[in-house]
Symmetry: C2
Subunit: 722 residues, 2 copies
């Protein structure tokens, strides 16, 4: 333990004597210390003596060069085996560590989650994340952390858009845009009482415990305020090409992907003024920043070298195209943080990129649910809702045959809304979003669906973390899908044995941004004209405003993979007549759609009202504020039926649209269905759910709920899917 | 660096002086050292002074008790933050570490892979695994490591069955059986030149770098030979129930799930005699060992306490039912090794089991391909074949439009044969194994397939590590599947974008153990009688011995999910006549099966010979030593066709069986097909593969290969699947 303010009572002579003695004892006749092995400058010390002899170089230049030339332990706090000194003091067991990240947009939000996963995997301390975000990232990350429920992680959000004006005057050519400059304003943006913070780019991956990095704060001298790793490229040396004129920097300069900031000292030192002055002065001769905040940090440090504490290279191994990082990682035994600081990211050319990519993929595909690990011995405020959840789960009886159902109902799934870039539809009064949910085995439906439905969609996908990456590649590989910015994909991460069909529907429904929604299923292709027709019908019927109604879209099915999709009701009726199409579930479960009254529909010229009947489960268009699906129905069975009961109980009219239709395509039974099809327990549990549903219905609707009682007491074929 | 044999030149007085000085310097006026926080005994030192002052207790008892009572750093080499001393010296960067594991049977082989994954994830040193295995585990693990190709990992196998006689005389009640005792004979079984080894149970999971554990060897005194963690239960204290009489042990005794063995010293000390004498003597009064080797280790240690070096509790956190481990892990900041030492394994009851289970699942589901990471700066002998592979991969042109095909062909997939318990079929001269391959989206076919084919099957499954676990649960949940020990499942781990269909078929084919194989596809259900009928036909026709032939099983298809499977040829023909069945691919690709001559088959009473024709791809029965599938055909298209060409080129007769049939069930197009269906590049690449195939054919068969040239030059519809 080396407390930061320890008295330096002993004189230099005593210290020297001691070190000599210690050296003799430790290394005896056999100098065990591993000297620098490659490319080192003669005389550069290979054994870092640790905090006992802080090596503050006169100008900061020599040491940084040494760090790059193969001495990974060159920084004062390094903890590699090639060091001979003691490791830096680690933060105490439950000390709270603060991390700040600037994050904007859909893609950076995905990146930041991978970074956070790697950090959480190795961390052993409580963390407080300070996220400076735009509205998009905030929407995504707020929901994500809320549903992730990781113990001992606190998250605060700061509005990046409010900070924009402080940096928008700086011309910047870096791909990160304005947000790339925002790290400069952290000392004023973060709470005044916050003194220490680790600042990270979204494109870094941890390979070690962040507390080891935090420990390096202890090595700051009384005036140092910024801990940085040297740049692992020759960028700031200049002359990379003709007229290459970088911003001023000490030697190779520093990389700002990983920063230790003493906010308190920066505030005291007048940081705001300092960087602004420097930036303004440099911008008199330089047209713009090339590397965003990094150029300005380096220019300030060039002027005030006493501010910087150089960090060991392993804390920011930079994988840019012409990286010199190999000098660092070949000598080190431990990489601590990997930084994908090329605009090409994982496609960067580097002979060891496979190694680093594997490392990155580890966390990209890592099941984030597994990070809901408590920190033993560190009491922490549980995440919101976690305590009630724990209590509810604790009350479940593992011997209950429906235990899996109960547990699944209580499961809080991590939700990543708008997983891919998405442009919300422009506000239009009668617009309608197609809402559906799917898992991996239905991805191949998406292209056809996009061809049939040119309007906005909100789709919930039930995926593992690894599948989410496959999904991403699938979209990128499809020109049809990649072109559609009006389709919002919301990833709900898998957990538990039963398919949480209604929870998925609710996520997709909650994220729909138009005033109306078409509640569909992923195996259906709507008529090509349906989107336009629905909007027109909504307007004509005054849906929502004048009339509380659900518009029914009649459902059909084909049993053949290859069939020619009808372009009109006339064509559809012709196919129906020759037996190429059927009304939906005609053979197995006609009750599900019988009330739609297909015979009447054939002839209908205008919308007509139908009455609810038992087991009715039509596909409907309703206002966005319609009742939610009942999340107790997990697995398969009764999930849509219950929703229609609720609509009817709330006195929605059911109006069948005469020109609307949607057609179900064949598919093999999903694994989730097969698993339970043959189980009598499954049927019993479903009946129990239905009973509880009816109790709740009675509570809300009183005697009116009696109407549904017989329907709820009917046994249902377990072979049907939801 | 503290080399093991460093001269101890300084006298005790000098040492003491130095320590005093050092202590003053380090802790100054502010004794930063964190004292033990809970439950500690008064006077027990909370600050471990490190190797400079080894704390060897007089009888070993006190310290072990302290370790359990909340001082995780009590062992001499611990490296927790609550320590104040320097960490133990780590092995040098590229030092080879040796690990021995006893492993027998299918289930332990799966366990050991999870253990190895956790070890590889954190390791930074080259490893040499010494695996003591039965024939089953050796078969699995040899193939696994051969195809895994992890750099800087060497594997040696030792025949457990040859060692059995050395321990089979010991009566043992532990669930691990005879293999549980085998750690006792490691000093003689392992190579004589091997001096240090870490011995692990298959049910441990690493949460840290194994080199930290290896480093603890440096703390052994000159006579210590066995490093162990104290038992975290009261078992050896006795009196857990009436007549509970455990074997003798020091205090709580030691757990042998993690052992540091100085093999050299044990051999010198006459270990073989020592443990046998002790065991024989104890067995005079005790009926059997209860905890296998652990009872004997403890009895020996009780007698020779000088042998044991107690290790810090974090190196073997024991999750048995009544574990006291919480005392260890609540105080520690770092868990190093988790030990699932309850027969219930992950189902053990423990209030923190979710934490530990999450940790275990991390490695269970971890993509093992990501562990093919090189150790930077440690030159090591590449795994067999790795160099050629690297060269071949390096020669590929990333700009080549068929790059993905080339890369996929070269990919060496990790293969885990007989993933689940499997009993080889008894040797029968005309027995036939159904051979097929599948991925996750066809699991639901397995139950039906088992009902249709009562004989042995060899199935290759293309899965991720996480999917392999889902698969395992799927089988366990199905009584039909769980009952079939004659179905061998071989997991081939996913890697790359294209489905390696023929590599999968070859894995399944190579693992078939009967003299004949039925080369089928997973979407087909054979006639109920086919297994018996094939065996009779093989015998009658003298297949293989008298006749070099491939028996053709005519293929049909249904377009409906629900259909009544025909019980005879007569029923089948009736369904065909009413259009409920078709000959296979009748609508899309009749050429594929036209040579089978369905018209003739209708009437046939005896097998008849047919001639090869372009694009023929029947399902056939052949001797097991038939030609392999051509692995160059990855993705979809031409994969079976090429195999039939090869059979014909090798002059196999094609004999159609008059009573045999198999029926294809409908399914949605797989994702792999959809991905490429629309790609013209895909077609071009397939043509390039076909051209290369023909060049090879000409090389092997000379002018006879000319016959196939026109067929190979025909464009093929890209929409067909393999």
């Amino acid at each position: 333990m080396l407390p930061r303010g320890r008295p330096r009572a002993l004189g230099a002579a005593a210290l020297l004597l001691l070190l000599l003695l210690l050296g003799f004892l430790l290394f005896g006749g056999d100098l065990g210390c591993e000297r620098r092995k490659r490319g080192g400058r003669a005389g550069a010390p290979g054994c870092f003596p640790g905090p006992l002899m802080p090596r503050v170089p006169p100008d900061g230049r020599l040491r940084r060069a040494a760090a790059l030339d193969g001495d990974p332990g060159a920084g004062p706090g390094d903890h590699n085996r090639s060091d001979c000194g003691p490791p830096p003091p680690r933060p105490s067991k439950c000390e709270l560590l603060h991390v700040a990240i600037v994050c904007a947009g859909h893609n950076s939000s995905r990146d930041v989650i991978t970074l956070v996963k790697s950090m959480l995997f190795y961390r052993k301390n409580p963390l407080h994340l300070h996220l400076v975000t735009d509205a998009v990232a905030r929407n995504i990350l707020e929901m994500l952390f809320h549903t992730w429920m990781v113990p001992a992680v606190r998250v605060s959000f700061y509005n990046a858009d409010e900070l924009k004006s402080q940096v928008s005057w700086i011309p910047n050519k870096h791909y990160s845009g304005l947000y790339g400059l925002m790290k400069l304003v952290l000392p004023s943006a973060l709470p005044a009482e916050l003194a220490h913070v680790i600042v990270l780019d979204t494109d870094v991956t941890f390979a070690s415990d962040i507390s080891e990095l935090w420990a390096l704060f202890a090595h700051f001298s009384d005036t140092q305020a910024i801990g940085l790793v040297e740049n692992q490229s020759d960028w700031y040396l200049g002359n990379l090409w003709k007229n290459h004129r970088p911003w001023p920097a000490l030697g190779r300069g520093f990389n700002t992907g990983v920063i230790l900031l003493r906010l308190d000292r920066l505030r005291q030192a007048g940081w705001e003024q300092m960087w602004r002055l420097t930036a303004r002065r440099e911008l008199l001769t330089l047209p713009a920043t090339s590397l965003a905040d990094q150029d300005i940090f380096n220019a300030v440090i060039k002027e005030h070298p006493g501010l910087v504490q150089p960090l060991p290279c392993v804390w920011n191994v930079q994988l840019s195209d012409h990286t010199l990082a190999e000098r660092c990682y070949s000598a080190a035994s431990d990489l601590k943080v990997i930084h994908w600081n090329s605009p090409k990211k994982l496609q960067v050319k580097n002979k060891h990129v496979e190694f680093f990519r594997n490392f990155y993929l580890t966390f990209l595909e890592y099941d984030g649910n597994l990070l809901r690990r408590e920190l033993f011995g560190c009491p922490s405020q549980p995440p919101p809702g976690a305590e009630q959840l724990q209590q509810a789960l604790a009350q479940l009886d593992e011997e209950d045959p429906c235990f899996e159902f109960r547990q699944q109902q209580l499961t809080v799934h991590r939700v990543h809304v708008t997983f891919l870039p998405h442009e919300p539809p422009p506000p239009r009064p009668h617009d309608v979003t197609l809402v559906a949910q799917l898992s991996m085995d239905r991805l191949q439906m998406l292209e056809a669906l996009c061809r049939h439905w040119p309007g906005p969609m909100s789709l919930a996908l039930y995926l593992t973390d690894a599948e989410a990456q496959q999904f991403l590649r699938f979209i990128e590989a499809s020109p049809v899908l990649a072109a559609r910015q009006d389709v919002a994909y919301h990833v709900v991460y898998r957990e538990g044995p039963l398919y949480p069909v209604n929870q998925l529907r609710n996520v997709a429904l909650a994220q729909a941004l138009t005033p109306y929604v078409f509640l569909s299923d992923i195996d259906f292709l709507p008529a090509y004209s349906l989107y336009d027709y629905l909007r027109a019908s909504i307007e004509q019927l005054g849906l929502g405003s004048q009339r509380k109604a659900a518009l029914v879209v009649p459902a059909f099915e084909t049993l053949h993979y290859r069939f020619s999709f009808p372009h009109s009701k006339v064509e559809l009726l012709a196919l129906l007549d020759v037996g190429a199409l059927y009304t939906f579930r005609y053979h197995e479960w006609p009750r599900g759609h019988a009330p739609t009254d297909y015979a009447r529909w054939r002839e209908a010229q205008a919308p007509y009202r139908v009455q609810w009947a038992a087991d009715y489960e039509p596909y409907v268009v309703v206002p966005r504020d319609c009742p939610r699906y009942d999340p107790r129905f997990v697995g398969f069975g009764w999930n849509k039926v219950a929703h229609i009961v609720e609509l009817d109980a709330q006195e929605y009219e059911l109006l069948v649209l005469p020109e609307a239709f949607t057609i179900h395509l064949p598919h093999a039974p999903s694994l989730d269905i097969s698993r339970f099809r043959s189980s009598p327990t499954y049927r019993d549990c479903l009946q129990a759910l239905k009973d509880e549903f009816h109790q709740d219905l009675s509570r809300h609707h009183g005697a009116a709920a009696l109407k549904y009682l017989p329907a709820l007491q009917q046994p249902q074929s377990p072979a049907r899917d939801g």
